[in-house]
């Protein structure tokens, strides 16, 4: 492989990996803040315990997000130094503002929140986690604005003396119509990720069938729960634990469902913006070669040997409607766009990799719909104090049983949807790095050698692999342990003597 291909592969690997943790940080910080707010207002111990559990998950997730995010900030200089020089005016201020405005808030206030439980007054302590949650949203917006520039460059001009891009308006960069559309879509997806994690944990601890158990009620019997984790001094009684796990499952399910609906609505808006600014991307998503009016939406297509046309399951008029809002509108096809770009930018290949675009688009939607459906099922089955019945009889109980069997896969559904979404939007932008202005092939560090890239890829694969295993172990550990009340100290921080002198 060439240095260009390896650089692209490396960027894809470290970015997709980083983005497994980002949505969880965004949603878990807001969920922690929300749960703690309810606890503060009502004093309900369920919400306090849920706050602690979600907070622990957030701490673990945020740590991995921070260290992998640091790699992202270096990537532009490490492997894409030509791009960094050319677009330093756009990406530099964006990353700098993100670091100064948002990242400091998140890191400092998360430390204050976790370690300051016994040192800050409750309202101040609650405020710190809200600051973290707001910081993650600012971060997301600014970084998405940088990405939106690559999809739809605005606010720059070419400097004739230096030959580099020159920032014209930072405001235009931050109000790019693509970021205005992609931010809500991304945040809604992030809430699906956090919601699905809480849903899976809550259902697992509350309704998981156990060997030898029969009937839903025995699932929360004391001796079974007692065997599931070590006892900490401030742990809750088993009778108290079940309502908290139920609360987590329900909160997670509501979050996933609301996120799923929001993701569909905002995705529709984003699709229309994309059709306008990058028609090739949406044509590739549909594998629509010819410009068509009343265009159908292909749910699914296979190319059979010996057939010129692929066999496709179509919904008539839907593509025209999705792309423009008008079922009779004309949608531009790949062949026409290719011809148009050749006349505009000179000879070249302007078509992305169609099968990847077609399938990642469908997998994104499919995994998102599946996660939303699971959340709706859990909400309906647990409505008004009802329980899941994985040990019961009948079709509904069979559904519950299957749900509890595939629980570990549930948090992976929104993560898979987000991953395929990013793979779609970034690969279907090719061959451009900045659409219409700068090609990916021109951005790579000019003297980087393939051997260096193979070495760094191996290093990232090894360390990131270990990190993933450790993170999963930690999440499993946290979710197996007993619940802890919000106020007492964490187990690793023993009570401190109040007479300890200040250091300074």
């Amino acid at each position: 492989m060439t240095a260009l291909e390896l650089s692209r592969l490396q960027f894809a690997v470290v970015t997709v990996y980083h983005y497994l943790f980002v949505p969880l940080s965004i949603s878990l910080s807001a969920l922690t803040a929300g749960l703690q707010t309810v606890w503060w207002r009502t004093g309900d111990p369920r919400h306090g315990r849920a706050t602690m559990l979600v907070g622990k998950l957030l701490m673990a997730t945020f740590a991995v997000g921070v260290v992998t995010g640091l790699v992202q900030e270096f990537q532009f200089g490490l492997s894409w130094s030509a791009f960094a020089q050319y677009y330093g005016d756009v990406f530099g201020p964006t990353l700098a503002i993100e670091g100064m405005l948002a990242f400091f808030l998140e890191a400092t206030f998360l430390g204050l929140w976790w370690f300051g439980r016994d040192r800050l007054r409750p309202p101040v302590h609650l405020a710190t986690i809200w600051v973290v949650a707001i910081g993650t949203l600012i971060s997301a917006y600014v970084i998405l604005a940088a990405n939106a520039f690559m999809q739809h460059p605005v606010g720059v001009s070419l400097d004739p003396t230096t030959g580099r891009a020159r920032l014209g308006s930072f405001g235009a960069l931050m109000t790019n119509e693509v970021v205005v559309a992609s931010f809500p879509h991304t945040i809604a997806g992030a809430f699906m990720a956090g919601g699905a994690l809480l849903l899976a944990l809550g259902v697992w601890r509350r309704w998981r069938p156990r060997p030898g158990a029969s009937g839903a009620l025995s699932a929360c019997s004391p001796q079974l729960l007692a065997s599931s984790g070590r006892r900490a001094p401030s742990s809750t009684d088993d009778d108290d634990a079940a309502p908290t796990w139920r609360l987590l499952a329900r909160v997670g399910a509501w979050t996933t469902l609301a996120g799923g609906i929001a993701v569909a609505l905002t995705g529709d808006v984003l699709g229309k913006v994309m059709t306008e600014v990058q028609p090739m991307k949406m044509a590739a998503a549909e594998a629509l070669y010819e410009t068509t009016s009343h265009a159908p939406f292909s749910l699914f297509a296979v190319q059979r040997p010996g057939h010129a046309q692929p066999t496709s399951l179509d919904v008539p008029w839907l593509l025209s409607f999705l792309a423009t809002g008008d079922p009779t509108a004309t949608v531009q096809g790949i062949d026409d766009l290719q011809a148009q770009y050749v006349s505009q930018f000179g000879p070249g290949e302007y078509t992305p990799w169609i099968p990847v675009a077609y399938w990642t688009f469908r997998l994104m939607i499919g995994f998102g719909v599946l996660a939303t459906a699971v959340a709706a099922w859990v909400l309906w089955r647990t409505r008004r104090g009802r329980d899941l019945e994985p040990d019961g009889r009948g079709w509904f109980a069979l559904g519950d049983r299957w749900l509890t069997r595939v629980l570990p896969a549930i948090p992976a559904l929104p993560a898979a949807a987000a991953t395929f979404g990013w793979l779609f939007t970034e690969t279907a932008r090719q061959p451009w790095l900045v659409f219409g202005l700068f090609r990916t092939a021109d951005g790579v560090s000019p003297t980087l050698t393939p051997v260096e890239l193979v070495a760094s890829l191996a290093g990232f694969a090894l360390v990131y692999g270990v990190l993933a295993v450790v993170w999963v172990r930690l999440v499993l550990h946290v979710s197996r342990a007993d619940l802890v009340d919000l106020h007492p100290e964490p187990t690793d921080t023993p009570d401190e003597d109040p007479v300890l002198e200040p250091s300074y």
């Binding site: 640091l70 005016d89 530099g92 430390g111 204050l112 023993p494």
Partner: protein, 360 residues
Amino acid sequence: MDLATLWFALVVLCWVLFAVGEGFDFGVGMLAAVLGRDEHERGAAIRTVGPVWDGNEVWLVAAVGVTFAAVPAWYAAMLSGLYLPLVVVLLALAARGVALEFRGKVDSVAWRRRCEVVLAGSSLVSAAGFGSVVALATTGLALGPGGAVAGSGVGRSLAPLVSWPALAGALLGVLAALLQGAAFLGLRTTGPVRVRARRVAVTTAGVTAVVVAVLAGVTAPVAVPVAVLAVVAGLAAARRWEGLAFAAASLAVLGGVVAAFVAHLPVVLPSTLEPAFSLTIAGAASSPEALWVITVGGVLILPGVLAYQAFSYWVFRRRVATGREVAGGLRETPRSGARPGGAAPSIRACCASPGRPYRG
């Protein structure tokens, strides 16, 4: 002073704040496994940086961000020219951050021990890596036209590491982190850890002063104040003026980093091939519009950042004790026979008498 020069000053400020903040974080990471005789003591040592290390590390994010924003050509040349060394540092930082955050989240001796070993090793690699990168930024890279370092194979970006400046920089980076970390632990802990930390601070200060003085004789007399500050830190630690010891150690780090950055002004990254290929402030800077954006952003945002970081240090101003001392001799975990990784025999020897009385 034009905007580009102002921003160069602010870039240096961010790097200095990163070096000072992470300097003691790295030092505590290396020393916790050595100075703590059991997991309570190691836990107390690590808790001194627990609430603040993440905020300190964000200064790296800010420093890289403003470097990219203000002088993109420099950012591009440094990062692509030192590709593999920086990837190693990033991987070490990744392991470090996760070890710090995950250590206390699982209640198991083996898990904590593993996290402590990873923390010590990755802190060592990070401190050495940043030390050599700063040194190489001073002496320059083999920059060709366009600010790219040419070469073949892995040697392209690894070769600069096998040079006297890089090795000296790595040594100084580790020494500075140890000195600052020991002074910080002396300031922030109680009991035996505090006593041992002070002794390590005295020893490291002496070694650092000698190494810096030798370097000052060989290359740049500029380094003399750094050596003096190291001596002050050592003397203060010996007299148990822990605040002064930490301040002097931090000033030594500050002086070293500033000296490295301004060594060749207005050249910011010298080319060892041809002076014409060296990067200057004017040539590497971004356009006035971009500089204005980060100036306004920096002026509005950074004072607030400094204020709430100071608030965080204020909230966590009390010394950190081990749970054992506080609980009155209650010992839950038997001491493990294995010695924690990364413990140098000389450091063990210098803190081998824990029975001495201590103040506080």
